[in-house]
Symmetry: C2
Subunit: 297 residues, 2 copies
């Protein structure tokens, strides 16, 4: 552990101690609503719109029996209605009733009040400073815990990520961007064993993606690399690229190529910083204006 890391660790631990002590109350204030913490957390998640029992279980990391019991309790109190998912009869969907919505609003209001009481003694300048420090810390901590997972390029997460990517290209390219049917056509090429597709998860949300396809026997091509706008500047793009590069190596290629459009200046800068060098046009992609290559490490 080098010095920066050691001192960051010390700061993080110190902060954790003082924060949990002070703001733990913020969670326990849920208890102030006469509701145990577990129930309050569950009710809160349901109110946020995460309604399928499966999703709730994954988000909160709860045992299915435990969760089921809490839902029965909510039903008994008339706060939640649980019905079968019309798409899949095994699945069940929980939704707040009117009374449940009121209970949720109450929780939300209490949390707001408590948080407001905590920051109340600060001056306006200090509050602004606090908000910006917390936002920075939040982004970095969230970025630090992003995970990179291989998914099916035709699966819902991949589709959603690439759609966001195409929409962004359409907005930024001078003459717009028409993906045509690439979304479905290209999927097979981004599957093992000659390709792959990776999404970056932060709290089960997809915040970045990228694919690898075969270019020729010894060359892999990186495509569809995209980072969610909220997540730029936190190193997620760089780490996505690193993840993809290691997949290229794993798939047995010894050279990487990629293309991009001239307006994507941040991407170009990142490729250059990552050791990519310009190379000749290697495809007839009408949207490509820059071509790069890099040997596999």
């Amino acid at each position: 552990m080098d010095d920066t890391a050691a001192s960051t660790v010390a700061t993080l631990r110190r902060f954790n101690r003082s924060f949990t002590q002070r703001i733990g109350v913020l969670d326990e204030s849920f208890l102030g609503a006469g509701r145990p913490l577990g129930q309050a957390r569950l009710l809160y998640e349901i109110g946020l719109g995460h309604t399928s029992v499966l999703e709730l279980r994954q988000r909160l990391g709860l045992d299915s029996g435990y969760l089921s019991r809490m839902l029965r309790e909510f039903e008994r109190e008339g706060l939640v209605a649980v019905t079968a998912d019309p798409d899949d009869g095994r699945r069940r969907v929980a939704e707040l009733t009117a009374a449940g919505r009121r209970a949720w609003d109450d929780l939300d209001r209490r949390s707001d009040e408590l948080a407001a009481r905590i920051v109340a003694p600060l001056t306006e300048r200090q509050r602004t400073e606090l908000a910006s420090a917390l936002a920075t810390a939040d982004l970095l901590l969230r970025a630090a815990t992003v995970s990179f997972d291989v998914v099916d390029p035709a699966g819902p997460e991949a589709i959603a990520a690439m759609t966001a990517y195409f929409d962004e290209l359409d907005g930024r390219f001078v003459d717009g961007f028409d993906p045509g049917d690439t979304l479905t056509v290209d999927a097979p090429s981004m599957r093992e064993p000659t390709g792959t597709f990776v999404v970056a998860h932060a709290d089960d949300e997809v915040v970045a993606c990228g694919g690898v396809v075969r270019h020729d026997a010894t060359t892999g091509e990186i495509k569809r690399m995209w980072v969610h706008p909220d997540w730029r500047g936190a190193g997620v793009g760089r780490r996505t690229l690193t993840a993809l590069e290691s997949h290229v190596a794993r798939l047995g290629y010894d050279r990487i190529v990629l293309d991009t459009n001239a307006v994507l200046t941040e991407a170009i800068a990142m490729y250059e910083r990552a050791g990519y060098t310009p190379t000749a046009r290697y495809n007839d992609n009408p949207y490509a204006q820059r071509w790069f290559t890099k040997p596999v490490a």
Copy 2:
């Protein structure tokens, strides 16, 4: 609630959610040591040197029965030795045995490793940025939760705070500062009903102090105002002054006076910002070079 406050509250709540989810593990990793969280916290506090049972109870906010039971458990495991306090036979003192120290080191090491794993994916620059954001947020949150309490001016907290104050004056005044026996002589004047003494607590530590004494029938004097060096620039001084001013009003005075030395430029600036105006020398304090006054609001 104005706009700054509302957005700070939203940021704080958002941060709280993502932080506890992510770093909650940091505490639960204590559990990784095969020890329940409550026990781990207690063992950790004992290891930090907070050894009297009373102090542990106050710091951790535990029921005395609950704490007692945990200490018995630690004794049974040979981690802690509990003995009577030689100064007061009612009080008991807990100390780590050699085995307890090893268990503590183990907890500490695990926490370090976990925190290190969390920040590991960040670049050095990002780690520095994270550490500084957390340190800022920590100071502000700690400052926001400071409480101002009336204490006896001859009590241990008041003595400690004023001693630190005098030591600082001695270091900063050109010809040093000799408190003489003011510490004991002045105490009665800083007691109700004509005076008072206030200390600012953050986590049971004294971070600022100040006293009010009778100047004449309608005038209260603010004295011994001091802020711990680590806590300057976070608004604690300003809030100590405000607290003292409200005590002056409560005690029935309608004017405030105070004096200070020319080298205490931050203090002078603060008094001016707070609406104090220069006035004529009103005492023969050999260390005073500036005199201020302000009407009670």
